[in-house]
């Protein structure tokens, strides 16, 4: 049984990792090498593909654009989501549950469904070719899951903590800022990572909003690069490798948060 478990684990790890290794190592070959033998080892190893991409501005532009958009979208989703989560968890008012329901129903709205009127709206208000044209809708689409995770967390903080703060002279908003938010740190970091990854990986919205390549995000840039250089396989391999680095880097750093967030969101 134990041997079987190791075998299965090895098999799964292999299926996961071999395609990634093919891409990373393939980037160290020349296209002539790749064409001559797709599964071969680099011989000799060449770093030209990587240095060419790192030396050209396009890759850094895509990286910068993705970063700007993801930071704005994440900041907005977390800031507005935690404010709304606070109101929906620690205030009693009529229509509270209905309002919470409206936000959570947002989980069912695929971006695709909204894309046509969203595009027209962005055109009308002049947000096409603008990072905000991507960041604002992405923040809006991240709000449901943010609120879904934060609200139960904030609800679970005992009323006595709030009463004590009020007795000590804090206002409701003071309690929110100085006590509730720090106490909510684990949930806040989870929703931050989730919103960031979602925005970082988004493809459809940047595809619709950006025409000018200097505005492209990394996912859009990778897809475009692939179709533009389709004859130069080794270079695409290198570009794809470099585009994976930030995502995998963030993942290794934040693995616990991501996994914790996913399991947390399941338990509701």
């Amino acid at each position: 049984m134990r041997k079987l478990a190791y075998l299965a684990g090895l098999l799964v790890a292999g299926i996961t990792i071999v395609p990634l290794l093919f891409v990373v190592i393939g980037g160290f070959r020349t296209t002539a090498q790749v064409n001559a033998n797709p599964v071969g080892w680099p011989s000799p190893w060449v770093a030209d593909n990587y240095t060419a991409i790192l030396g050209a501005p396009a890759f850094w532009e895509f990286l910068w654009n993705s970063t700007v958009i993801a930071v704005i979208a994440t900041g907005l989703a977390v800031a507005l989501g935690s404010m709304a989560g606070f109101a929906l968890s620690r205030y009693r008012f009529r229509g509270r549950e209905a309002l919470y329901g409206v936000f959570t129903i947002g989980l069912l709205f695929p971006l695709g469904v909204a894309s046509l009127p969203l595009y027209l709206l962005l055109r009308q208000v002049g947000l096409l070719e603008n990072p905000l044209g991507v960041a604002l809708p992405e923040a809006a689409f991240s709000l449901p899951v943010t609120i879904l995770i934060l609200r139960p967390f904030m609800l679970a903080i005992p009323q006595e903590v709030e009463d004590a703060a009020i007795l000590d002279g804090a206002s409701r908003l003071g309690f929110f800022w100085r006590i509730l938010l720090p106490l909510s740190m684990p949930a806040l970091s989870t929703v931050t990572v989730l919103a960031f990854v979602t925005s970082w990986n988004a493809y459809l919205l940047p595809l619709l909003v950006f025409n000018d390549q200097s505005h492209f995000t990394l996912p859009l840039g990778v897809a475009t690069f692939q179709s533009q250089y389709s004859q130069d396989t080794a270079r695409i391999l290198a570009f794809t490798t470099l585009s994976m680095v930030p995502a995998l880097g963030v993942f290794v750093l934040a693995e616990r948060r991501i996994v914790g967030g996913l399991s947390g969101s399941v338990k509701g």
Partner: protein
């Protein structure tokens, strides 16, 4: 009075963003869907439900719904058992378990675009996949992975599985951690075999996690877009068209905004109907209203 002001201050910005960029566009889509409209100029050509009859009666759209359903069913019968089996194996005390989890979960954080490009490169005719199969003596298995209409949908499903399998495994591992080990010890004391313990104790307790996974998987399968769009654009000959690629193709490539909006509404209704039914019959006992 002050309380009201606080509430407005706290809820206002989130509501504004959510209503403006999520709710209003969906309502507006329903409105556009009643017109024959190219996306420019006034909405004058009112066609009522005409677009809907065209969408629902069209062969390509019907095919797209079929493709989405194939992906839904394949996910349930292939990904679910595989994820459960791997999660059960990974839940044991194995050396290198942490590293294994990290590896298995890595594809989930890659963007769909990167995933699609990786697999385009790997699946090139005569490329890595074909060479590897030849090496393993499976030469006969080789197909035109993305150019053969009979095969393309299954190829895309394999890529989707590669990307999302780790997600399911992580969810299930989290669920497994919620099962007290004493229960399994008690089952063993009562003389249950490992297989019986899994069937009678573990799987029932894993029920809520499995039901959430099914929910997310079905909704995701109904909306699949990025990977298909980048790898095949729905081709060849519409053999891999999904509802979402059909929507973007008609809306943004052919400027059929009214028609595309009707597709959007149909897609939304299908997702919403599934969610309501599923909530009513499957999720209710697990999460009280948490999923809307």
């Amino acid at each position: 009075m002050r309380r009201r002001l606080e509430l407005a201050l706290l809820l206002g910005p989130a509501l504004l963003l959510f209503v403006g960029f999520v709710l209003v566009p969906i309502i507006v889509a329903a409105y556009y869907s009643l017109y024959d409209w190219q996306g420019f100029g006034a909405l004058t050509d009112f066609v009522g439900l005409g677009n809907y009859w065209d969408v629902l009666g069209g062969n390509v759209f019907q095919g797209a719904v079929g493709h989405n359903l194939v992906i839904v069913v394949l996910s349930l019968v292939v990904q679910l058992p595989v994820s459960v089996a791997i999660a059960l194996l990974l839940n044991r005390k194995l050396r290198g378990r942490a590293a294994l989890r990290l590896i298995v979960f890595a594809p989930y954080v890659l963007s769909e675009a990167t995933t699609a490009v990786i697999w385009l490169l790997i699946l090139q005719p005569g490329g890595f996949t074909d060479q590897a199969l030849t090496f393993l003596g499976l030469h006969g298995v080789i197909h035109q992975w993305l150019a053969d209409p009979q095969v393309v949908l299954f190829t895309l499903f394999a890529v989707i599985t590669w990307k999302y399998l780790g997600f399911g495994i992580i969810l299930l591992l989290a669920g497994l951690q919620g099962i007290p080990p004493e229960l399994l010890e008690a089952a063993a004391l009562d003389g249950a075999s490992a297989g019986q313990a899994v069937r009678r104790v573990v799987l029932p307790l894993l029920g809520p996690t499995i039901r959430i996974w099914i929910f997310l998987s079905v909704i995701g399968s109904l909306q699949v877009f990025d990977i298909v769009w980048i790898m095949t654009l729905g081709g060849p000959a519409n053999a891999s068209t999904t509802m979402a690629t059909y929507l973007i193709d008609h809306g943004f490539k052919r400027y059929e905004f009214g028609y595309g909006s009707a597709v959007a509404v149909v897609l939304f209704i299908i997702c919403f109907a599934f969610a309501l039914v599923y909530q009513r019959f499957a999720l209710r006992r697990d999460t009280e209203g948490a999923m809307g």
